[in-house]
Symmetry: C2
Subunit: 462 residues, 2 copies
């Protein structure tokens, strides 16, 4: 029996205990967005510190201008074992609307579903459940071997759900302490409950607001119509040209640096058998939007987008009001793929709008977010080890998938610490994160913990 | 001394009394929009009935589903004297925000301005002040001659400021009683305080709302961007093509029936010396919008427009939200000129939008208003008499102007009773109608009353 096999046996013997730790953690309502829960956030952090200390970590709460960060270090076996930085977050989304929950959000319950038992609670999966998996893997290793097979740093933040405002400066201020060989993050999904996945590309984002001001006050459209500039007409004209008939985005230099996906990637993704019809059908749509001539997953994971997320101006109440408003505005986000320069997109969008808006309008831009697309090298020893560990656990190859959204921490760790991230997550599409009745399948939690234990064995030579 | 001159002398002798009637009427807060003022509306109507009865009218309150209508008849001298229908409204706009008034809105005060004394109160000009002018003219004629020189019907409504919902059915139900040769309305402006005006064209309007529905719920733009239809993108694309680079409206068949203005009209309007730069400069704009190659007054009075009056969709709060919303909508109004068919514009706009919106969006249209542009024949004996009366009073020719807005009652009277309207108003641009500190210049009131007395003389052979 290999060490890893012994660790897995220990994990099975102690599965009840690992589950209990997870459920206890879920009972602490660590809602970072609500000041009334500040003490709960601190308690949830302290809870993690205590669990880590039990396993031989040097662990502590570190103050920030907001909720504290947990940092813990374990030396591992010494020698040339790799140094892994496990990132997660102990804060959760607010539970409202509470009326839609079938059980109290902070009183975790086990219920039955099509995949067996599941835990229902706020944070069940995002991210306490996924963190509890790797804590459980550490626990089994520690119980079986008295140590861990790799050098490990744990970094748990308490403000992921509120934009990580204080987390980024914390990372910058503690660069030396947080150095490692790779970041390991479980905050993503599997392909499906039978098919594990490693996410190797993330789209970045530029999020901007454009405000147009025209007249100094609202005008009557009978009196001024035909003479006065209407900022809504101007704004729709400008934004109405964002894409051509084939869905190609018309912002100057927008596609600079965008690469077509490789044939290998195209084949891999095509083999996943993604049913875009069903994906759209679930939300009441039928016809794919986006660029013509591109595959469905390619459009979702490897092509940039331009979505208007909000627009406003003038009168929106019942009936009619004949106003030419003095201003109008919109929020626009661009999902970026690796290779695109966010600053170039910001400038390109400004130029695009300025060229399409009449000289009499005053245009103001705000930038609310600006991060590049991220690509994680799939040939690294870490990704390879994760693929092998997942194959061992699931008996089938893990798939390398993209992620259409951004995970800002991945960009922060890459930019500030030079760390790539290994994104090995065990959530499912229907886990209801951020919604009422968030759940995590016990089977996902179980196999996720086993996969993490296997990964440690693969990397630590166990 | 002609009869008219004697009447004018009598008017001067009794000017104080006529002014007092006006001020007394202003003290009644007849706000039609506010149910708490229903009794005040009735009192304001009864006030008018009493004044008309004093001058030999058969006058009464007529019930509707809303505020009552005043109808009064005076037989005049008999014979072939013309039959004039004087229309006005006794209701006023709400006074809020009351904090911005310098004196209580229903306690009229005389203050000094650059044109001499003025009366400040809600309704000072719109429309009690303008109605009080022609009541004052009747009073002088009645006092001097014991009768009126024309057959007269008075029609005062109490819901002009709330859309005349019950007025239109009243007119339809009383067609025979309301027949006349011409409608006389004082609810418009002069060109300036020295230059009287008769309005001979009014733009009509089609007011529509378009709603686009896409997905059955809001979507995350990271997860769905590149696959799901974004209704704001679709709406801006559709509306963004409303006009070409020269400002020409692209709705199919939109310009059917639109005629260029005559050279005579172009010359008249050009002679007015309208300073569009100052007109726009007053509201913080510099560059005329609207169709290229058209005169300023032509664009304001004789060319159709397409203005987006409101637009909404998605997130408009602070910062960012990466949402692909499920719906978006906009309100659009078209100002129409005589010759355009409102129904054709409604259908054209529907076709325009449908052709530009992806098949996956559900499009719904609402129509909130639909009235044609109106042209009043300038060679009629009534317009000619008004021009002569105004020339007599002001010592300079009155100008024939257009009006960029609509006056729905004019269309109602034309459609239901076949009556043209003589629009002879004495308001000024800066009268603040519908705003705090509404005022009417005493000089405008005085000369307006004299002009009405002269008009009656011209038409009645006095």
């Amino acid at each position: 029996m290999s060490v890893t096999e012994a660790v897995l046996a220990r994990l099975e013997a102690d599965f009840e205990g690992a589950t209990q730790t997870w459920l206890d953690w879920l009972r602490i309502p660590s809602i970072s967005a609500q000041p009334a829960h500040a003490a709960d956030c601190r308690e949830a952090a302290a809870f993690a510190v205590a669990r880590l200390a039990e396993m031989g970590f040097t662990a502590g709460l570190r103050e920030t201008a907001g909720h504290p960060v947990v940092v813990a270090h374990h030396p591992g076996p010494g020698g040339d074992a790799p140094h892994l930085l496990y990132y997660g977050h102990y804060d959760v989304q607010p539970a409202d609307p509470e009326a839609l929950w079938h059980s109290p959000p902070f009183d975790p319950v086990l219920t039955d579903g099509p995949h067996g038992r599941r835990v229902v609670a706020r944070g069940a999966v995002d991210d306490k459940g996924q963190v509890a998996m790797w804590l459980g893997a550490f626990r089994a290793w520690h119980a079986q071997t008295g140590s861990l097979p790799c050098r490990i740093t744990v970094l748990l933040e308490g403000e992921e759900e509120t934009g990580s405002v204080n987390f980024k400066p914390f990372v910058v201020a503690n660069k030396a302490e947080l150095k490692a060989d790779i970041a390991v993050i479980s905050d993503t999904n599997m392909w499906d409950i039978d098919t594990p996945a490693v996410s190797t590309s993330l789209r970045g984002m530029v999020y901007m607001q454009v405000d147009l001001k025209a007249a100094s006050r609202d005008l009557h459209s009978g009196m001024y119509g035909g003479s006065a500039l209407n900022p809504i007409n101007a704004l729709t004209h400008a934004l109405g040209g964002l894409k051509d008939a084939a869905g190609r985005i018309q912002v100057p230099s927008f596609y600079d640096g965008v690469r077509d996906i490789s044939t290998r990637q195209a084949n891999q993704w095509s083999a996943l058998g993604f049913a875009e019809e069903a994906f759209l059908g679930n939300v009441g749509l039928r016809i794919p939007a986006g660029e013509a001539g591109r595959g469905a997953l390619e459009r979702l994971w490897a092509r940039p987008t331009a979505d208007i997320n909000g627009i406003w101006g003038g009168y929106s109440g019942p009936g009619s009001k004949t106003v030419i408003p003095s201003e109008a505005g919109a929020k626009i986000s661009f999902r970026l793929v690796p290779g695109q320069d966010p600053k170039g997109v910001v400038e390109g969008f400004k130029a695009f709008i300025r060229a399409r808006v009449p000289a009499d309008a005053t245009v103001t831009f705000s930038v609310f977010g600006e991060g590049p697309g991220i690509e994680i090298p799939t040939d690294s020893r870490f990704v390879q080890a994760a693929m092998a560990a997942l194959q061992d656990e699931y008996g089938r190859p893990a798939v390398l998938i993209g992620c259409g959204g951004s995970i800002p921490v991945v960009e922060t760790l890459q930019r500030e610490l030079g760390l790539d991230s290994l994104l090995m997550g065990f959530g499912l599409e229907d886990d209801q994160i951020h919604s009422p009745n968030e759940k995590f399948e016990l089977r996902c939690f179980h196999q996720g913990m086993r996969s993490h234990a296997r990964l440690l064995g693969r990397l630590g030579g166990g």
